[in-house]
């Protein structure tokens, strides 16, 4: 081929590839744009003050209230329950895999944990509603059929692999010399892990927790199936609640006409969700980056 023609082709390809890479920026702009636009429309009809301070969320009823706090309470509740399962289990498992387990065990277990992460969330939803809730009802008879407890627990189990795998990466990349130094002073493996390795890997481990929290907040199907659709401002894990995500699903399933206030509420709810998870993701990103800069 003629070299000049080839050079033009090379340049054109580079430009095309650049556009593909830059496309991801357009996606973010698209998300932010759509959310801001519709949220803005929403706030033309509902005051920001009411949105943030009202204690009821009833956009689908005759007497409308738009207290996002109510949905946040549901999200907070399920997230706290999920994290109280996934955080200790995930962290202990990460320490075990990084510091205790033989290479053989690690190689055997890691792909199995990946399977856990591959199960679609609608499956976990089924499990929470039709297995975990009936099981818990045997112990806690007053537990209602839809509740934040079982959906939170199952969500926590779903998040374990995220926390254990990312934390393990962080623990594993702590230099061997630190371990040797601690062991040489006569520390046991347990002491070394808790007092030396974990603090050294803290920002990496924290990044995995925050990513886990962000995941829990954004999780949709488990809570839509098993936590119920009754927005209420409560910290009681035994009664039905509604999360932000479950509300969006609820509205989407109905026949809400475009342009109505109900339609706009899902964008306002989505905007709240995006702002919170975006903030958490950014914190996680920079924690991870700082960790890498220290050890890699």
């Amino acid at each position: 081929m003629h070299r000049n023609l080839q050079k033009i082709k090379e340049k054109a390809i580079e430009k095309a590839l650049f556009l593909s890479a830059f496309f991801s920026v357009f996606i973010t702009l698209g998300i932010v744009g759509v959310l801001i636009f519709e949220t803005f429309e929403f706030f033309k009809e509902v005051s920001v003050f009411d949105f943030l301070t009202d204690t009821q969320w009833t956009p689908l009823f005759a007497e409308k209230h738009f207290g996002i706090m109510t949905l946040f309470a549901g999200t907070l509740l399920t997230t706290v329950i999920a994290m109280s399962v996934s955080l200790p289990v995930g962290l202990i498992s990460a320490i075990y895999l990084s510091e205790y387990a033989s290479k053989k065990i690690r190689i055997a277990i890691k792909p199995a944990l990946e399977i856990l992460a591959a199960v679609p969330t609608v499956v976990y939803g089924y499990f929470a509603l039709l297995f975990v809730t009936p099981l818990l009802q045997k112990v806690i008879p007053e537990l209602s059929g839809f509740n934040s407890l079982s959906s939170g627990i199952v969500m926590g189990i779903m998040i374990i692999p995220i926390i254990s795998s990312l934390s393990e990466d962080a623990l594993h990349s702590v230099p061997m010399s630190l371990r040797e130094g601690s062991m040489a002073l006569g520390s046991t493996k347990f002491q070394t892990s808790i007092k030396v390795i974990l603090p050294a890997a803290l920002s990496g481990v924290a990044a995995s927790f925050i990513l886990g929290i962000s995941r829990a907040i954004g999780e949709t199907m488990i809570v839509a199936i098993a936590a119920g659709q009754q927005p209420r401002l409560t910290l009681n894990p035994l009664v039905p609640v509604e999360t932000i995500t479950a509300y969006i699903v609820q509205v989407s399933l109905g026949d809400t006409p475009t342009g109505t206030l109900e339609y706009k509420t899902i964008f306002a709810a989505g905007m709240s969700l995006f702002v919170v998870t975006f903030g958490l993701n950014m914190i996680s990103y920079f924690l991870k980056k700082r960790f890498r800069e220290v050890y890699e």
Binding site: F18, S20, E38, V89, Y96, I115, V122, T220, I225, T277
Partner: protein, 298 residues
Amino acid sequence: MDTKLRNRLYDKSFYIVGLFATLFGLIVLLTLLIDITIDGFSRLGWQFLTSYPSRKPEAAGVLSAWVGTVWVAAMTVVVAFPLGVSAATYLEEYSKKNWLREFIEINISNLSAVPSIIYGLLGLQLFVRGLNMDRSVIAGAMTLAILVLPLIIISTREAIRAIPTTIREASYALGATKWQTIRNQILPAAMPTILTGTILAISRAIGEASPLITIGALTYVAFLPTSPISLEFPYISLKGLFDPFSVLPIQIFNWVSRPQKGFWIDAAAGIMVLLIIVFFMNGIATYLRYRYEKRMRW
């Protein structure tokens, strides 16, 4: 008890606690699989796979749901794979280490953690309303393609990074241009790993329900998208892309949400179908990675 003994006890017991914590998820998974199999096995069969949903639980099936899943998954690959591989190639092979690359990187990392339902809101406004695609296969596929794009970019970058510099040098030393080197050497050598990442991304897309619910995919579909192959001229038709659809996770969600127990059996059987597809894809991905690692010795 003296301190030394206590420390040793802690140390030993952590072996057991740690192993249990690690196996905990797997025990739950096993329980889940057994529970679902017990619930749904009786319904699973040829009739279940070849029937449309129905008002009678015993007569209901997943035909429209699995066909919809295949359509959407296929279109998702068609859109996301070239775009993702191109973006990753640019970031690994062309871009210089500067603020723009950092910006794109942060952006992709952030997108990969955005809740999937948010993508549904974007798809709803952009594809369903903005581009007037309505609740069609193509609108669903575009939404899921955007959802899995960051995953494909991230795994493709890792795959490209794993190709040793010596391969690049060998190609350049023969007078190859940058693109020739990428197209003929780097991408083919990285392809098994790229495919592994892509299959995992698509299997994630297959399990997604919430973004498709948000864009308004139907929960009760008693027909199939227009077949892509027909016996009459011009034999190939893309009309199906613009037909309404449902997918397996949505069908399952619909059945779980019903109060009648009979539909829960349908849901369990539907989950079995979904899990078989997802696990099968994960199996292929793992196998590809394993075979590739064995074959390559740089």
